[in-house]
């Protein structure tokens, strides 16, 4: 079973603040669920404190409907760069497949788990952690 950072926050840490102190909790994402989005990049935001992918996802059951925009939260730019990402890794119009942990509040958004880029290469695949 995949476990995320949230699995660790039940522990008293003091010195080891985790990213939660430098940034924030990720409890707004349901990290027990995964959703796969297949769509087109609208915008790739290489920004602090987090990078975001805005992706347009067509409704496969109703191709005539307007695609739905989803916002995908990622790590900070320096964190992504250490994983091989660059500011130009994604561009508007790129076809992507993104696995996310969805927001609990029902908005079309989530926390990135992995991204398969336009060339078919998986450009983020965080280590799977088993418990």
């Amino acid at each position: 079973m995949k476990r995320a950072v949230a699995a660790l926050v039940g522990i008293s840490m003091l010195l080891i603040a985790s990213s939660a102190l430098a940034h924030h909790s990720r409890a707004m994402f349901d990290q027990t669920k995964q959703v796969t989005l297949v769509g087109t990049v609208k915008e790739f935001q290489w920004t602090n404190p987090h990078c975001w992918i805005q992706v347009l996802v067509p409704d496969t059951k109703n191709p005539q409907a307007e695609p739905v925009e989803w916002g995908i939260e990622m790590g900070a730019p320096v964190e992504l760069m250490r994983k091989g990402w660059k500011p130009g890794s994604l561009n508007p119009g790129d076809k992507v497949s993104i696995v996310i942990n969805p927001l609990r509040d029902g908005q079309h958004g989530g926390l990135v788990v992995s991204v398969t880029g336009p060339d078919g290469r998986v450009i983020v695949r965080p280590a799977e952690v088993t418990e």
């Binding site: 995949k2 476990r3 995320a4 950072v5 699995a7 660790l8 926050v9 039940g10 522990i11 008293s12 840490m13 003091l14 010195l15 080891i16 603040a17 985790s18 990213s19 939660a20 102190l21 430098a22 940034h23 924030h24 909790s25 409890a27 707004m28 920004t47 602090n48 404190p49 987090h50 975001w52 805005q54 925009e69 989803w70 916002g71 939260e73 990622m74 790590g75 900070a76 730019p77 320096v78 964190e79 992504l80 760069m81 250490r82 994983k83 927001l103 609990r104 509040d105 029902g106 908005q107 079309h108 958004g109 990135v112 788990v113 983020v124 965080p126 280590a127 799977e128 952690v129 088993t130």
Partner: protein, 281 residues
Amino acid sequence: MIANLTGEIVTRRAVSATVIALLAGCLCPARAQTSSKERIKAFAKLPDWSGIWELDAFVGQSDGQQFSAEGQRRLKEYAAALRPSFSPEYQAKYDEIRKKVEDAIAADPAHPPVTHQPLCVAPPFPATSSPGMFEWRVTPEETTFISTVGAVRHIYTDGRSHPPKDELWPTLMGDSIGHWEGETLVVDTIATRKRLYMGELSGFFVPMSDQLHFTERIRMVNHDQMQIEYTVEDSVALTKPIHVTITHVRVTDFNRMIEETDCEENERDPVVNGRITTIAH
């Protein structure tokens, strides 16, 4: 000037006399004219802590999302060592705060409550040693700790004492003085904010007393590892000191210190009414 530089003399590696002289001149122009030779000798006695470092548990977590299995194991070890033994009075404070956070989460799990605004200031000492990457600047008069998430600690090693009580007030980093025991930097820190961060639930601070006091013993174990032994004491809030030794490892996949705590640029997880409220688009 270097009264506290004691112990064996260790030659600083890979630092030419020219560079040292330049540093001496750049960092302390007022004394460069009169004591640059002495200062070069003082530099030569210091260990070489150059490079970029990170907490060992965070290796492989640089995507900002998940810890490695080894990282999880290390964090659990640290957490076990760090669990405080509160006095009855402070245990009651802890219980009350934790219950409030629990209730707030239960009331609205989709929007985690935060008790530590603002979110984007530097992590306060002693949490400085966890997220981000670190650099050390070692000079005879001061060792400076710099992190990519905005923390800067000034550890004075020029023989000074802490300021008198009427010149101290609580700050994020507190007041740190240090001395060298061989290649180990021994640091004494007081006057931090009177609180400790708990990583439980969505994270919260527990108040501590004005007796809160930290000691660190910092040394390089080998070329790729630094070790920090922490002792946390508070004779009012804790029934016994907290002792933990953490390891920083050399970063080998990145060579720049880039600021990453700038929430003004594109904050899409703002705090609204004390809760994180993500803006999906």
